[in-house]
Symmetry: C2
Subunit: 125 residues, 2 copies
Amino acid sequence: MSHPRETGTRLDPRWDANGLITAIATNATSGELLMVAHMNADALAATLATGEAHYWSRSRSELWHKGATSGHIQRVIEMRIDCDQDALWLKVEPAGPACHTGQRSCFYRRVEEGGLILDVNVNGN
Amino acid sequence: MSHPRETGTRLDPRWDANGLITAIATNATSGELLMVAHMNADALAATLATGEAHYWSRSRSELWHKGATSGHIQRVIEMRIDCDQDALWLKVEPAGPACHTGQRSCFYRRVEEGGLILDVNVNGN
């Protein structure tokens, strides 16, 4: 743990070539993994300022206030960052499904030998 | 949910420009988020074949059998994939710390206004 980015107390995200870091949202109550998205500096600043998850939409190339149109806001209960500061973990209180398909979690399929199994009973553990 | 990649039962990862997808490991028992890494096709195939987490090390540009040198193997209990198949969720039974820093989880710091707080009491919920 020699690098200050790993040991320090300064928020110093390691943005990738596109100016993004990975952002993972879990349900703060159940621990369920809800979705994986990305944040740029603006999205992170907006999330910190409002307490509601903001991401960077790579498909639309725009700041994405999660739930702004659907109502499925994610209130951030806790935010963590990993050792090399290229991934954020948001524990959120979701006001509705996380997935654009209408599923509570984007991870509604299990990977088994030979293919995927639809299994919407997603649990954190 | 119109795209077959989102609705189907075929494992069809959406590899990025570098041939990678995001892989997230949580503790299958506690739900704790352990680490965020990446997999290429070889890493995914090795994980499926052995039941132990294999990643692609971007820093070393090589297949990385987690725990091969440290002993901190991650036995995969369940694997899930997200709607657009660019992120995997591995629920694992870890034989030791997930983080190269020696921490159980890479997410040992909370993000607060003004900076990071060391807080190793990482819980899934």
